[in-house]
């Protein structure tokens, strides 16, 4: 097992970069798990507002009630200094004064001078509230123009605007598994090739250095035995990294895998093998290790952006998706999406996607074998 031991010794020297990749991935996952846990459904934003009704009419009271039903009403003394302090210390987002004559102006179809508003800056909340009031007044004006009385128009507006819009989240996570929105398995499509190319490729390149390979070929070790030992070393490394990710996943999830999670585990295993084969091909085709990190970034980032790892699949254009279908990460992501509920779960499709990944494994392995025969055969033709 001389070559196997050599593999491990060289790997030990190259592990620093790999460890950095793994650590950054796990750190990212922990952060996303902690911060994303509560943002799983859509709710209307409510802003904190204080209202001063100087008109004091049934129409103005209707507006106050309408706002109160949708936002948080805060009681503030109607004093310039008190309002400024409340805005400064963010106790309120908006101070609205319904000016005297509001009801009359509403009846006359006027829109100027109805309100006086105060806020700190042109914030999101300010724009939202301005739009809210404009929509309310505009709707009443439309109803009056349509022949309704003011009281009826206010009623109608209240009913019309209370009809909410159904919002469906594009990536709606189901269940609490790691296949969900925190992206543990999704981001693996970026990190696994990165770890493999940064660690496995340099080891294989070192072992394939022409001078030392020449010396090895002159020795009594059989090429098949040497290749098998390198294969064994690579397998141990890939399995270790994969197991580390899977074990870390259990800790992040807080419970052992169950149900459909196992599909994700199988999917990640297949993708780990694909990543190792990509690293092998990179090692065979790269003449020098100087450009290795550049190549790793091009492959990992390129594949991630084309295959819906960083940008959700739904947001990708059809042409990008078509291009992505030629990459293994696309099918890896498709499997994950099906398992986490973003796409419709269809077992036949799921198995076929996994089959496509297996086909990638076979194709990459065939190319690697061919390259090995052409470039690294112990007996050369020329």
């Amino acid at each position: 097992m001389q070559v196997f031991k050599l593999f491990m010794k060289i790997l030990k020297k190259k592990l620093l970069l790999s460890a950095a990749c793994v650590a950054s991935f796990l750190a990212l996952c922990i952060i996303t798990t902690v911060t994303n846990s509560s943002e799983k459904t859509f709710t209307d934003t409510k802003i904190d507002i204080c209202i001063f009704d100087e008109d004091n009419t049934p129409e103005s009271q209707a507006l106050v009630d309408y706002i109160a039903a949708r936002h948080n009403i805060k009681e503030i003394e109607n004093d310039r200094q008190a309002i400024t302090d409340a805005l400064f210390y963010s106790r309120i987002d908006y101070a609205l004064t319904i000016n005297k004559g509001y009801a009359q102006k509403l009846a006359d179809g006027e829109t100027e001078g109805m309100f006086t508003d105060r806020h700190l800056s042109e914030s999101y909340g300010t724009a939202y509230m301005n739009n809210f009031l404009e929509e309310y007044v505009s709707c009443i004006n439309t109803c009056i123009a349509g022949g309704e009385s003011l009281a009826s128009a206010i009623d109608t507006t209240g009913k019309v605007l209370s009809e909410g819009t159904d919002v469906v989240m594009i990536s709606k996570p189901q269940g609490s598994g790691l296949s969900d929105g925190n992206g543990y398995f999704r981001y693996l499509a970026y990190f696994m090739p990165a770890v493999m190319i940064s660690s496995l490729s340099p080891v294989l390149m070192t072992l394939n250095k022409s001078e030392v390979r020449f010396r090895t070929n002159c020795s009594t070790i059989r090429p098949v035995s040497a290749a098998f030992q390198i294969f064994a070393g690579s397998t141990v490394f890939v399995a270790s990294v994969w197991l580390l990710f899977i074990t870390a996943g259990v800790f992040l999830k807080g419970e052992f895998y169950s149900g459909n999670d196992w599909w994700c585990v199988l999917n990640s295993l297949l993708f780990s093998v694909i990543s190792a084969l990509i690293a092998l091909l990179v090692a065979m085709l790269m003449p020098k290790s100087d450009m290795l990190m550049l190549v790793a970034n091009v492959i990992c980032l390129g594949m991630s952006f084309l295959c819906g790892v960083f940008v959700p699949m739904e947001l990708l254009s059809d042409s990008v998706k078509r291009a992505g279908q030629f990459l293994p990460a696309y099918w890896y992501t498709m499997v994950n999406e099906m398992i986490n509920g973003t796409a419709v779960f269809d077992k036949i499709k799921l198995v076929s996607y996994i089959g496509i990944e297996a086909a990638f494994v076979a194709a990459f392995a065939a190319v690697a074998l061919l390259l090995f025969k052409l470039k690294f055969s112990s007996v050369r033709q020329s």
Partner: protein, 316 residues
């Protein structure tokens, strides 16, 4: 009777239209330091690669230790050591780990291997550097490590392919002494180089190669006797009249005389006392002269005379 260690018969290797080895025959006996001398591209390294079964060939036979050599002839390979021109070690391993690794490709037994590694380290004088990584070693020490990796398993046949390229003179001498020591210890050596001085210094028998062919073979003295030139006499002098130059050209055994840049150069073929006779002619004509020296023919002269070209470029 000395056993034949290497026998190459009628070896032909073609790269498309280029004939790299052209019906090459070589026989190397046990205990020899056999030099393969030739310019770049003459086929030395191709011969080595064919010999090690690392390269296929079109025609011919190769036998080592009386057995046909093949890529799977591991019983032969175990007794062969290879030291190449380029240093072939792992930068990620220490000196000791490197030697141990390459020795381990031949010797499985841990204790025996440890002994062999210790002896190899001692042989090349790297005792103080066993924990150093190759990048921390000087060029000379690196070459010594390269040699240690090739000989640690105690091979009976050692192939050295230009092991002193880009090595300082001190390290070169150390390496050459080491090679002679290995030969004394019983190893047969095949040494390729285009440094004729080295080949002259250590090789007991030499083959001169050009364009894939062996154009001459023998001991260095035998090779020098193959050429017309027996000695070249150089006389430094300020002036040489044409009449005297004519007299010198008429002398017996002098086949070429030139006078350039204040130097009279006379190439002689055979005969004795050529130097005395030339000086007598100069004295008779009242010509004064400065330094006088006579040189024996070199292997470069042999190569020059056989092929009509120098063995290596002057800048080498």
């Amino acid at each position: 009777m000395e056993q034949t260690v290497v026998k190459i018969e009628n070896l032909v290797k073609r790269y498309n239209d280029l004939i790299a080895l052209d019906h090459l025959d070589l026989t190397i006996k046990e205990g020899e330091v056999y030099g393969l001398l030739g310019p770049n591209g003459s086929g030395k390294t191709t011969t080595m690669n064919c010999l090690l079964s690392l390269l296929t060939f079109d025609k011919g036979n190769i036998e080592i230790f009386g057995k046909p050599m093949s890529p799977t002839a591991y019983d032969i390979k175990k007794d062969i050591g290879v030291i190449m021109q380029n240093v072939a070690v792992y930068d990620e391993l220490t000196v000791r780990e490197n030697i141990d690794y390459f020795c381990g490709l031949y010797i499985r037994d841990k204790q025996e291997r440890r002994r062999c590694v210790d002896e190899a380290i001692e042989f090349v004088g790297l005792e103080d550097f066993t924990k150093f990584y190759p990048k921390k070693l000087s060029g000379g020490l690196l070459r010594r490590l390269n040699i240690a990796c090739g000989i640690a398993h105690k091979p009976k046949l050692i192939l050295l392919d230009e092991p002193t390229v880009a090595v300082d003179p001190q390290s070169r001498n150390k390496i050459l002494e080491g090679i002679l020591q290995l030969n004394k210890n019983g190893a047969t050596i095949i040494y390729t180089s285009h440094y004729m001085e080295e080949v002259e210094q250590i090789c007991t028998r030499i083959a001169i190669m050009d364009k894939g062919r062996k154009i001459a073979e023998g001991t260095k003295d035998e090779l020098k006797h193959m050429v017309k030139n027996t000695d070249t006499i150089t006389v430094e002098m300020n002036d040489l009249p044409d009449s005297v130059l004519g007299q010198l050209k008429e002398m017996p055994h002098v086949y070429s005389v030139t006078y350039e840049d204040g130097k009279l150069v006379a190439a002689c073929s055979g005969g004795k006392h050529n130097l005395i006779r030339i000086l007598e002619v100069l004295q008779k004509n009242d010509l004064s002269f400065g330094r006088v020296y006579s040189e024996q023919p070199t292997l470069n002269d042999v190569f020059l005379e056989i092929t009509g070209k120098a063995l290596r470029d002057k800048e080498d």
